[in-house]
Structures are given as C-alpha cells and as structure tokens.
C-alpha cells in the first residue's frame, strides 16, 4: 500500500505532500498542514465541525479521503478572514451577536454559513435553518447563530450595494 502524491490548493496556497491513501482530509489538514481550525466532533459525518469548502462546496472533511481532494481548492476557517486580518462579515456577526459559546462548532458553522451566503445571499430564516442543518451546536440553541447569519447577510448586501 504505497503512499500517494497529494497536490491541492489550501486557502490560496499550493500544497504538495506524500500521504497514505486512507488518510482522511481532516487529518491531513490538521496534522500535516497544522490547520487546526476545522474540528473533529463526531468522526461520523453528523456534526459538521469538520466542514470545509472543496471547490466552492461545503463538505464534511472527516468523510473524504485525501486523494478525493486531489487538484482541488480547499478553504478552511483559516482562509475566511480578509488578508489584512480583519474579520469577515460572518465572523464579525458571530462575535457581535453571541453566535458561539464554547466555540467548538464555530469553525464548521462559520465555514458553512459563509458558503450558504454565497449560494443564497438573502436567505429566509427557514432557509438558514435548513442550510445549517448539517452543523450541530450543543451550546447556543441556534437562535443567535441564525441571528448572526441574518446580520451578516444584511452587512454583505449593504457592502455589495455600496460597491
């Protein structure tokens, strides 16, 4: 069982490494690339804490082999803030509106919310709840997460209108 040569772009940077085919993408990100933002919550594709973007789509990286992501573009929570370090509107809204308590679900939740707003910039409350239905939070009761996403959607549309 030989190692395979893995090549992908992660948060805009090209990455190359040798990895065993059975390596899960979440382990590759956390252990090989030291990107420990995406978390391992359930390890069974239920909780969404490991959510990353693969080629512009939200995916649970605990259920993807590293080879499946060959030649793809990955975005993790580490790639969401602006290059100058200021927070993205979704991150800022979670901070301002108490969209987190312990913070364990937050990287996956924000990465998913970020993508949801790209897919549907003006979601209804119901669309937000369905859109984050693959992400579990044990603390907040979701109310403030939904509120934060609504605020971020407004912020982003105001910004877009101003441009």
């Amino acid at each position: 069982m030989s190692k395979t040569h893995v090549k992908m772009t992660v948060n805009g940077k090209p990455v190359e490494a040798l990895a065993e085919p059975r390596t899960l993408l979440i382990h590759f990100l956390r252990e090989e690339l030291n990107l420990t933002g995406p978390h391992i919550g359930c390890d069974t594709s239920h909780c969404g804490a490991c959510t990353v973007d693969i080629d512009g789509k939200s995916v649970k990286s605990c259920t993807v082999f590293v080879g499946q992501a060959q030649d793809s573009e990955i975005k993790t929570i580490e790639g969401i803030a602006h290059p100058d370090g200021t927070l993205h509107a979704v991150q800022e809204a979670f901070r301002q509106h108490h969209g987190l308590q312990c913070g364990f679900c937050t990287p996956g939740m924000i990465t998913r919310a970020y993508r949801l707003l790209q897919e549907n910039p003006n979601p209804s409350e119901e669309e937000i709840r369905h859109g984050i239905s693959g992400n579990l939070c044990r603390c907040t009761g979701y109310q403030n997460i939904v509120k934060a996403i609504q605020v971020a959607a407004e912020e982003l549309s105001v910004k877009e209108a101003a441009q």
């Binding site: 085919p21 899960l24 069974t44 594709s45 649970k60 993807v64 369905h130």
Partner: protein
C-alpha cells in the same frame, strides 16, 4: 476511527473502471461520494483493498429528459438532482426525495448511484426507483445489462449487481404529465434515515385514478414496491375507502425491525400514516 489500508485508483473512463473491478475481483469497491462507504470503512465493516474513485468519469455525470424516458448518470449528486430544472418539471418526486436525504454537505457529494447501489434499506432513493419502475444500467466485463429496480434488491446490502459490474446510469420511464407525487418521510430529526417513509404517484382523469404506484422505505430489509396497494387505488376516486384499502395492503407487506427508531408495531403503524398522507398529497397535486 481509521479505515484499513487500500490502493487508490482514479480512472477516466467506465471501461478502465470495469477493468480494475475485474482484475481485483471481490477486493475492489467503487468510491462515489463515499458517504456510505467511508463510514463503513471506519467501522471496518468494509475493508476493500482497492478503491476506484469515479469522480473523473464524465460519462457518469449527465441528466437527460425527454417525453419517453429520463436518464441519470450514476455519479450525479443529490444536490445536482435538486438543482435540475428538467427533473423538477418532469419528475418532481426525485428532488422532493433528495431534499429529505441527510444535510446540505452530504447532498453535495452523495450520488444517486451510490444511494441505489449501496443496498442499505434506510436509503431513500431505492423505493423511489421501484415506484417509478426504473432500470439500473450495469456494465461488466461481459457487456451491459439492465436490471429492474423492482427485482434488484435481495436483502440488506445484497443486490443483483455482480461485484465486477459498475452501475453507469438509471433509466426511468417519464411519468405522465399532470401526475401527482409525494414522498412522506417520518424521521427522528432532520438528516436522519426514515422511521417509516412512503412515496406515491397518481394520475387522475375526470376524478378517477387511472394509474398509481406506491413504494416504502426502511420498512423491511429491502425497499418495497407496494403493488397490491397501488392497484387498490386504480379506478377509484381516491376516497376514504380506497385509501383505507391501500393502507391495509401496504401495511401487510411491511416487516420493519425493532430498533432505535422504534418497535415494529409503531413503525408499521407509521407506515400506514405515511401512505395515507402521501396519497392525499399526491392527489391534491395531480392535475
């Protein structure tokens, strides 16, 4: 949970994939979205020595719809089914069902081919395929054959597919224009497999039901096409007596397990309720 070791292959054509399956007979598995297979590999309930990833095989990705039939490539994802305007117009039960599978992340990668080839009685698409009288197109070293979805499922995780065959596409006779449809799925929480689920399509003409098809999910160790229940609706106005007859006929063929989703009696009871709601909703939507 770390899966066992395997060699990873990523062919570009169906023929290459079939060649790999044949040369590693029994030790090689197709990897589509991986969202049934990888969890099984983590539990070491599946320990393939070779995985054949089909994501680069463009022949497996199309959706085509005409008046006579619908053809869906095996690697089409649940998200792509939901997004297809053609399918929403001509066969809306497919997107209605896909939307009730798992969650957005899983629907982005989970494929229709993986969902129907898997053989897990909890998968939602197999019953819909039986309902629509779909055929599964299988390609192996000796050529291509079609197997009816109504005869494909033998027992949990046992299907008519030979281990050297790949499912390439699904062919569905286009349902009549104006048909009514509904997939009713009772689950413990969003994203869960069904406690009990029923799909129904009906066609009405001047208030009389001229065709009907009913199928059930997770109520036995295979999906169930409820033929007698379907026949109980044809020629009626879908009045309460006809619905009761269909419900009894459907319940009679179920044999659900008693498990975390509830005892057998409860799930059988729910099966009847799902059938009734699905008939009523399909009727209301029929032209």
């Amino acid at each position: 949970m770390i899966p066992g070791s395997f060699d990873y292959h990523r062919p570009n054509t169906i023929d290459e994939a079939v060649g790999l399956l044949a040369s590693h007979a029994g030790d090689a598995f197709i990897l589509a979205g991986g969202h049934s297979l990888i969890p099984m590999m983590k539990l070491r309930m599946a320990t393939p020595e070779h995985l054949i990833d089909i994501q680069d095989i463009s022949e497996l990705t199309g959706i085509s719809v005409n008046a006579d039939h619908i053809e869906i490539g095996a690697a089409v994802t649940q998200a792509q089914l939901i997004a297809s305007a053609d399918l929403s117009t001509h066969c809306p039960i497919l997107s209605e069902t896909a939307l009730q599978i798992a969650d957005p992340q899983i629907r982005n990668v989970g494929t229709i081919g993986g969902n129907v080839a898997n053989g897990d009685p909890g998968n939602d698409m197999p019953a819909i395929m039986q309902l629509l009288d779909a055929a599964f197109v299988l390609r192996g070293p000796d050529g291509t054959r079609n197997v009816s979805a109504r005869t494909f499922y033998e027992a949990a995780y046992f299907t008519a597919r030979d281990e050297s065959e790949i499912l390439t596409a699904i062919r569905i006779p286009t349902p009549p224009a104006g048909h009514g449809h509904s997939y009713q799925k009772q689950k413990r929480k969003i994203g869960d497999y069904a406690t009990a689920a029923a799909g129904v399509i009906v066609t009405m003409h001047n208030g009389t039901c001229t065709s009907a098809s009913i199928a059930l999910t997770n109520l036995a160790d295979t999906p169930l096409w409820a033929e007698a229940a379907s026949n109980a609706l044809v020629g009626t106005s879908l009045d309460a007596t006809a619905i009761d007859a269909a419900v009894s006929a459907a319940r009679a063929i179920t044999d659900p397990a008693s498990d975390g989703r509830g005892p057998k009696e409860y799930r059988t009871h729910l099966a009847g309720i799902m059938v009734k709601r699905a008939i009523q909703t399909a009727h209301a939507r029929a032209a």
